[in-house]
Symmetry: C2
Subunit: 103 residues, 2 copies
């Protein structure tokens, strides 16, 4: 299983609208990608490991695909409108990583 | 639900022994924390979103807890031996983030 992880870095002046992300962005992603999307997950950064430390990332989104090819096809087909929606909920430039799920 | 995400940054000379991590480190974490640990997940970085780009993180581990207090207690009780095992599988300094699972 492939997990595409989208990390939104925290920093001075960085904002993230979790309500929009959950209610509008992620449902749009799901609707566009359709059956190739095997699952999704959303994490909201609360903090670092030290008490009072800010979270390195404001939010982390995860998209699951059966294979690398399935992800590549979905991104090639639907990437443009999905990426175009990002400024509607954050001014943070996302870091994207493609993972293989090992456990 | 609380998800503690441990990210191992990639970089020149950085190494990560996934076999040791899966076969020894994560089982040790599970055994030590016990019932307070509600789940775990491991991702292996394959690449960035651009073809041929390296993954920002060599690996990402996730630990699930029912509450922030449950995590804090587990980390206070078992953190030292868990952290002490890190050099046995990587020379990457992990970035740790505490998340609330939103989806």
């Amino acid at each position: 299983m492939i997990k595409v992880t989208v990390l939104y870095p925290n920093g001075p002046g960085k904002t993230f609208d979790m309500s929009y992300y959950l209610a509008s962005h992620m449902p749009m992603v799901k609707q566009r990608i359709g059956a190739a999307l095997k699952g999704m997950a959303v994490d909201e950064g609360l903090g670092g490991v030290e008490p009072g430390a800010p979270p390195p990332y404001l939010a982390i989104g995860h998209l699951f695909f059966e294979s690398l090819d399935a992800f590549k096809l979905a991104f090639a087909t639907h990437g443009v409108p999905i990426v175009a929606d990002v400024p509607n909920y954050t001014n943070s430039q996302p870091v994207i990583q493609v993972n293989e799920v090992r456990l």
